[in-house]
């Protein structure tokens, strides 16, 4: 029989600016790897989640288009350059427009995408208009994580209500972040349901992470 399962598009927006180089970027790579392996072991996530990775430094680039988990190949990621956060947000909006399926009379549209943003600094480009547009049109549920002492949480708050902060950019904290992302995706793929319009449910953040009010 044909498959009528709806897809859950997941976008990872990863900061790969110069300040991420060294251990942090290696931890991010390991994190993506662990995320994929973890999600492949969860039947609901495997059935519904599709993943894309967008990186941003001096430019923004979609390094992996929206791909089903079993076909996902780890992207080549390296750090260096500035923090073109605005460009990343515009690219995200484009990708959602192009990749996320809308319902038609004959095809089931995708679930509202989940977006996880990880950044360790402040934008170096004009980000305000792109953020405002995303906040106004709300094409996705966005969860942003400010990593380390230099991340600008006020910028992230302009974009989404859901902002997390981790105090340092250690490999351990980054690993925990990706574990939490995987739990969030698993939880979302299970509880895609119920009351339309209700807030998405996320697991409690890992120890040492705080929710920015």
């Amino acid at each position: 029989m044909s498959d009528f399962t709806r897809r859950l598009p997941v976008y990872l927006l990863l900061d790969t600016s110069g300040s991420m180089s060294g251990d942090p970027i290696e931890a991010v790579k390991q994190g993506v790897k662990a995320l994929i392996s973890e999600l492949r072991g969860d039947p609901q996530a495997l059935e519904t989640a599709y993943l894309s990775v967008i990186t941003f430094n001096s430019q923004a680039r979609q390094v992996t288009p929206l791909t089903e988990l079993m076909l996902f190949k780890e992207p080549q990621i390296s750090a260096g350059g500035a923090t073109a956060f605005g460009a990343a947000l515009s690219l995200l909006a484009d990708c959602i427009r192009n990749e996320v399926r809308k319902s038609t009379e004959t095809q089931k549209g995708d679930w509202k995408p989940l977006v996880f943003i990880l950044t360790d600094g402040a934008p170096t480009d004009d980000w305000r208009s792109a953020a405002e547009e995303l906040k106004a049109t709300h094409p996705a549920n966005i969860i942003a994580c400010a990593a380390g002492a230099y991340a600008d949480t006020t910028v992230l708050k302009e974009l989404t209500e859901c902002v997390l902060m981790m105090n340092n950019l250690s490999a351990g904290d980054l690993a925990q972040f990706f574990t939490w992302v995987s739990s969030s995706i698993k939880m979302s793929s299970k509880s895609l349901d119920a009351k339309p319009g209700a807030n998405i449910e996320l697991p409690p953040p890992p120890q040492g992470f705080v929710i920015v009010p």
């Binding site: 044909s2 009528f4 039947p43 004959t106 095809q107 549209g109 895609l192 119920a194």
Partner: protein, 494 residues
């Protein structure tokens, strides 16, 4: 952080060790730590308010004692439960065995048996070792990632369906309701045809404050989903009950037997919002994909249908997903499912195509000439049926159809094939009574242990002796009260 050994104190005063790990497995309500030897788990609540809730505490106390079918009455379990029945249901449920009072309120559960965990050979493409066997590995497109030896066949899927129906019947018989039956809360092992019901702590217990769970997407009854936006205390809000369990039970059985969801089809209910479309598709507008009167949600490529499982199960599915979909009181009970599955079990016929994936199909009458799964024609030259009839009460000598058995060489017969008062449930005597075999082209019923078996000529057939069977032979399976009448039919396959 490395794993850390900790100790929990139970309500009984006993102290037991467990291992604190980072990122423990987390469900909607609780998170789990394992015993050092993994023989049991200790579970705590995600929300400290739940852990402190006296309603939750008293519910769990009732569940582990006077409502516990996995504990004999003599040890404080359910009334009337003996050692044998308790042992039987201990294999069917992962029932909590104790209450943790320190470091905080929690429960202790046995770990489920090894067969409900994948091993390294379970999938050639994903490392699934140690993951539990949630049913949507087997009933969704995820199937394609599993090794063939994990997948089971129609017979093992039917056995699981039967065991699940029996487990739910046992809960309902005690007035309990599971309230969150779903693909996550029933683990299955299609390879051996076994299943186990888990997450027993959110049961609805008669007279006690009900759990605040709504259920899981795809298994929540439409009436519960529709009223989910109402306040907890709104009288129009519909809470989980045995009726809503019966919706989830039907969905699970349908998924096991057809490997697809009964309500998720091509129909679009809302083009603008996926979330609202889904809400309608599983709630107020839910439409069975095989609804005979409304084909708006019917997939174009539906090849095997409820008709292929024979009229007994077809009717049960129609009652669940057509009559009862929006009218809970029309849903068949778990006992009706149990009985319907037992009767259909006797009609399973082995497909002679060695590469048939389902290996078995339901040969419900002589109109079936080929396997519905692979299209292979029936290879046998003749179909032999044992048709059992029950005497109509108060009308001596008048009989009505009771059950049928598809007979092949060495078909075993049990007490429930002899007397209508015996039902093949957990209490039934499973001693072989007789069997039917083929010898030199002729069919015989060999009596091994049955009392009161009569020949077509009306003579007693003691154990050790046989009845020669022929088309049209009629005889009593049991001479005493509520004994069944047998009629043999042998038809040539066209």
């Amino acid at each position: 952080m490395a794993d850390k050994l900790a100790e929990a104190t139970l309500a009984s005063g006993k102290r037991i060790p467990y291992v604190i790990t980072d990122n423990p497995p987390r469900g909607g309500m609780k998170y789990t730590y394992f015993a050092p030897d993994k023989s049991y788990v200790v579970q705590f609540f995600n929300d400290p308010e739940d852990a402190a809730d006296p309603n939750i505490q008293s519910r769990i106390e009732a569940i582990i004692s006077r409502y516990n079918p996995t504990l004999p009455e003599s040890k404080g379990g359910a009334k009337g439960n003996d050692e044998r029945i308790a042992a039987y249901f201990a294999g069917r449920f992962c029932w909590p065995t104790g209450i943790v009072v320190d470091p905080e309120f929690g429960i202790v559960c046995p770990t489920y048996p090894k067969s409900f965990f994948f091993d390294e050979s379970s999938s050639p493409v994903i490392n699934l070792k140690g993951k539990d066997k949630k049913s949507n590995w087997f009933t969704s497109k995820n199937r394609r990632y599993l090794a063939p030896h994990e997948l089971g066949d129609l017979r093992s899927m039917m056995q699981m369906s039967l065991l699940l129906a029996r487990s739910i019947r046992r809960l309902h018989q005690a007035g309990l309701a599971h309230s969150d039956l779903s693909n996550n809360n029933v683990l299955i092992d299609p390879k051996t045809g076994n299943c186990v019901v888990i997450d027993i702590d959110s049961l609805v217990v008669p007279g006690l404050y009900p759990p605040e769970v709504a259920g899981t997407r795809g298994y929540i009854a439409p009436e519960v989903l529709e009223s989910l936006n109402l306040d907890m205390n709104d009288p129009n809000r519909i809470s989980p009950s045995s009726y809503t369990d019966l919706h989830a039970l039907g969905v699970l059985i349908y998924e096991y037997l057809f490997l697809r969801h009964p309500l998720i089809g091509p129909k679009i209910y809302d083009m603008d919002s996926a979330e609202n479309d889904d809400y309608l598709a599983l709630g107020s507008k839910a439409t069975f994909i095989e609804n005979p009167d409304d084909t708006s949600n019917r997939p174009k490529d539906l090849y095997v249908t409820i008709k292929d499982l024979g009229p007994i199960l077809e009717k049960l599915f129609l009652r669940t997903f057509v009559d009862g979909l929006h009218n809970p009181e029309y849903r068949p009970t778990a006992m009706e499912w149990e009985r319907g599955l037992v009767k259909t079990w006797d009609l399973l016929h082995h497909c002679s195509n060695p590469s048939c994936e389902q290996k078995w199909f339901v040969l419900y009458d002589s109109s079936v000439t080929k396997c519905p799964y692979c299209g292979h024609r029936i290879a046998e030259k003749e179909i032999v049926r044992l048709k059992l009839k029950q005497e109509i009460r108060g009308h001596e000598g008048q009989w009505r159809d009771y059950a049928e058995v598809d007979v092949v060489n060495n078909t075993p017969l049990f007490k429930w094939h002899f007397q209508s008062s015996v039902f093949p449930d957990e209490k039934a005597d499973k001693t072989l009574q007789a069997y039917i075999c083929r010898h030199n082209g002729e069919w015989f019923l060999i009596n091994r242990n049955a009392d009161g078996l009569m020949s077509p000529e009306g003579n007693s057939v003691p154990s050790g002796q046989a009845i020669k069977l022929y088309d049209g032979a009629v005889f009593r399976m049991y001479r005493g009260e509520r004994g069944l009448l047998a009629e043999i039919s042998i038809t040539k396959v066209r």
